[in-house]
Point group: C2
Chain length 145, copies 2
Amino acid sequence: MSKLPTTARSLPISLIRAREGVMAPIREMLSETGITEQQWRVLRVLKEHGPMDSTTLADRASLLFPSLTRITQTMRKKGLLTQTRDEHDRRRQMIEITPAGVTIIDDNMDQASQIVAQFKATLGEAQYEQLLDLLALLDPDNTAS
Amino acid sequence: MSKLPTTARSLPISLIRAREGVMAPIREMLSETGITEQQWRVLRVLKEHGPMDSTTLADRASLLFPSLTRITQTMRKKGLLTQTRDEHDRRRQMIEITPAGVTIIDDNMDQASQIVAQFKATLGEAQYEQLLDLLALLDPDNTAS
DNA sequence: GCATATTCCTTAACATGTTAATTGTTGTCA
DNA sequence: TGACAACAATTAACATGTTAAGGAATATGC
């Protein structure tokens, strides 16, 4: 007869709580910029990889497609990115970060790096890297696993 | 000059993706019962610890209070739990699982256990436990850290 | 070529996440 | 006691998560 673990030792709940702990200082940082955590992810992916189509962006930013549709519309109105139809395949859409979007990243880069460094210090470099490896094993879309 | 990690090695994104991977089979299981992942958590906490007030429940199920308010209202209408005002402190509210709620847990217990076992097998018992320990370190509300 | 399936994206509907404001209740202290 | 702080819970408003359905463009097979 199998038994469930206690909720305190539940993997999904532990993941939520850890995420909550990690995001708290990041959300605090972003609250002053007027963008959300997801919009921050979109900006970072776009700056890191350059212009890309919506499908790739959704994949890299770990956003569901309906969410991305709304998010990009909001961000376009804010002037943080541009949306262009692909001329060869008019179903597709290319998305590109604007200078205003880059500015938001640049303005918060140092503080974000500091937050990351804080968590690395809490866990130690080795355990920090190991945590990332273990989390990757739980991701079905991770090619490495 | 500090630098942010690539989004692929970002801790928040890794946490999201891991959670997505873990929740996928659980959501699939729950889709047949008509309750959500959060409602499942509420039921499990209530069955594990017995009746409790809303604040304690929100804490244990890792739900924000406004979310819990809506969730308990929905679940009360479904007959999965009862809400009772505390007579000594009429601000408080006691929440208790109903037999119908217990039935949902019992009906899915075996399958849920199987899903947990699957992930333990994927990571190995030792790494699974270590992952939980590392995640606990990121939770600011965890007394052990 | 043409019907059909497939793909990319959007919209809809509902539930939850998140922050702030509000209501009702209890505690405190002058 | 009576104003005021503190607390529990709700409500509001907006953004996102999630599943399902729909629309426009392209690919495919005959």
